[in-house]
Subunit: 355 residues, 2 copies
């Protein structure tokens, strides 16, 4: 039976990427060696790293002033790295509180300085992108989480800001086009649209780093990694390779613009059904809905067993909501086919017909 993988991340990747990754574990590029047993300094892997860095730049249309790195530690270490590299010693930055991950970013920023929270939707269990206060003067940057995987909310556009932007785009990078001009740093754990778990991408303005007055430990210093072309230490070879393959796939499909159209179609399909079907209701407010993660629940929990039976029977995987929201979460990352969303809509309609 075909499986429809709605997992929130790590998540579905294109089948052709899986095939090529599987083959590379046995024999990479006809070398007679596995990808994972060659030196990271071999010309074959250096070419992978360079293509991965270059694909980020071309897919996102980054200006020349941006450097791209593939490091480790996920966005969780990225929260600290962002603040260490861009928040001046004794300084402050503005943050938006849109849920679990935004909170973690705020917590780590406090190791570097003051984090002004200029908007929060905590009072309504993060069901929306909050309206924002003005960025306090003296703030080094405005940090936000572009998509909130757990709550199913997403910034419709970058927030207006008088200072440079820093965004954690872990769960919606490469899902839609955006203008990178206003950003100082974009970072994203790979394990949604980019690739498997185990690497985190940093794209940043190389002219903006090195100005905090802080002595930064080596692994947390973007300048150290940039000076070594993302090879300061042994990089996570397999996660970077599979990310490179996934970015090649995006490019072959028409790039981020094509992904955006595909993602809009999928999101429309599920949200139209959530709004139409009397048995369900969405968690996120309509204007804050995420195209990546649709959060919804049954109006009557008495139907849960029947609905769970239906979607599991249809080959759907990973639909259970996060414990902080409950209900269901349909994660529809780039590689999820529209047909999978249609299968989910069909079982929602089947539940309606039979209950």
């Amino acid at each position: 039976m075909e499986i429809h993988n709605f997992s929130a991340g790590p998540c579905i990747l294109p089948p052709e990427v899986m095939q090529e990754a599987s083959q590379a574990v046995l024999d990479f590029n006809g070398m007679g060696l596995s990808l994972i047993e060659i030196s990271h300094r071999s010309k074959e892997f250096v070419a992978v790293m360079e293509e991965a860095r270059s694909l980020v730049k071309s897919l996102l249309g980054l200006p020349e002033r941006f450097d791209v790195l593939f490091l480790q530690g996920g966005a969780s270490l990225g929260f600290l790295t962002a603040a260490y590299n861009f928040l001046p010693e004794g300084g402050a930055a503005a943050y938006v509180d849109t849920g679990t991950w935004a909170n973690k970013a705020i917590k780590e920023a406090k190791h570097a300085g003051t984090a002004h929270v200029i908007g929060s939707s905590k009072a309504t269990n993060y069901d929306r992108i909050p309206s924002l206060d003005a960025v306090p003067s003296g703030s080094a940057y405005l940090h936000y989480t572009s998509n909130n995987t757990i709550f199913g909310t997403q910034f419709a556009a970058a927030p207006a800001s008088s200072v440079p932007l820093i965004a954690d785009m872990s769960s919606d990078i490469f899902s839609r086009t955006f203008d990178p001009e206003a950003y100082q740093l974009i970072y994203a754990g790979a394990q949604k649209n980019m690739g498997p778990a185990g690497t985190v991408m940093y794209a940043f303005d190389r002219d903006a780093i090195g100005k905090t007055g802080r002595t930064i430990p080596s692994y947390l210093d973007l300048a150290v990694h940039a000076s070594k072309d993302s090879m300061f230490n042994t990089p996570p070879v397999f996660p970077i390779y599979v990310s490179m393959l996934t970015m090649r796939w995006m490019q072959s499909m028409g790039g981020v613009q094509a992904m955006e159209l595909r993602n809009e179609r999928k999101a429309n399909l599920i949200y139209q059904e959530i709004d139409r079907n009397g048995l369900f209701e969405g968690h996120a407010t309509v204007d804050s809905r995420s195209t990546m993660n649709a959060t919804f629940r049954l109006k009557d929990e008495a139907h849960a067993a029947a609905f769970d039976g239906l979607w599991k029977g249809a080959g759907i995987n990973g639909l259970k909501g996060h414990r902080s929201v409950g209900g269901y979460r349909a994660s529809m990352y780039n590689a999820l086919p529209e047909t999978s969303v249609q299968v989910l809509v069909d079982v929602m309609q089947e539940l309606e017909r039979t209950h």
Copy 2:
């Protein structure tokens, strides 16, 4: 042609591990899903993580007081993590300078306190394990690098110490038995004997952490990771899975004791030839020789082209020495078969016969 992979790391892993890893990328455990597209919180991956943590404990014979984590950032971030978690605020620790990686550990420790260097072999280009001064009183621990990949030196035994030991065992963990009683922390990047690049293992005394008086950023705090069973954030799924498979393989081969016997046989084979063959000389002094990385050079560089032609023609890969030492480096990690070392010895003898 069979390839003999002497790469210094990432390096050779057992062929059966490659087969199983390749299959898991297509279909993991018959789930109909790839290992890299399932949730890290699925029961299937939680079982992998738990087996990996448990295999470290059983293979190393760790006392009950030890916790085991699989994190990211390599030993390069481990240098900082070790100091942040075990060096008290305003305190000091003792370090041994045995080369490049030891130096990096010392550099990062200075972000946490004072690093007393109690021995160094820098003056002789790190060709030996130095004799050590007494650990200065007030030192929190003694840190050493058990094997020095670049220079081909290795501590024959743990240094005698009046304080707990911390060891970076990245390049010789699981290669030989040792008594873990004296250690507070053992850490090791996976990409030699443990698995592919992309994860780093920490084994530490859970009673010894949380005592530095320091507020530690979350990702660098071992207590944070331990409280979440190594799932504080999304772990590097594939590198941990392949590490688990490699540890299963070690166990099936007879555990670390069997690896040690195998590694001694391989090391004897190559060092006997280096000592016997008039065309070659070793870099490391005899009593400091590593069983993992044999560093040697031609006495007469005029033979380099001929020797390079011979070993490349025999299917040998990754024999070039590190730029800081020059010459050749034969890395003979656990998974390298004795037959590969014999092939290298054969071409060294062939060079002698023909030149």
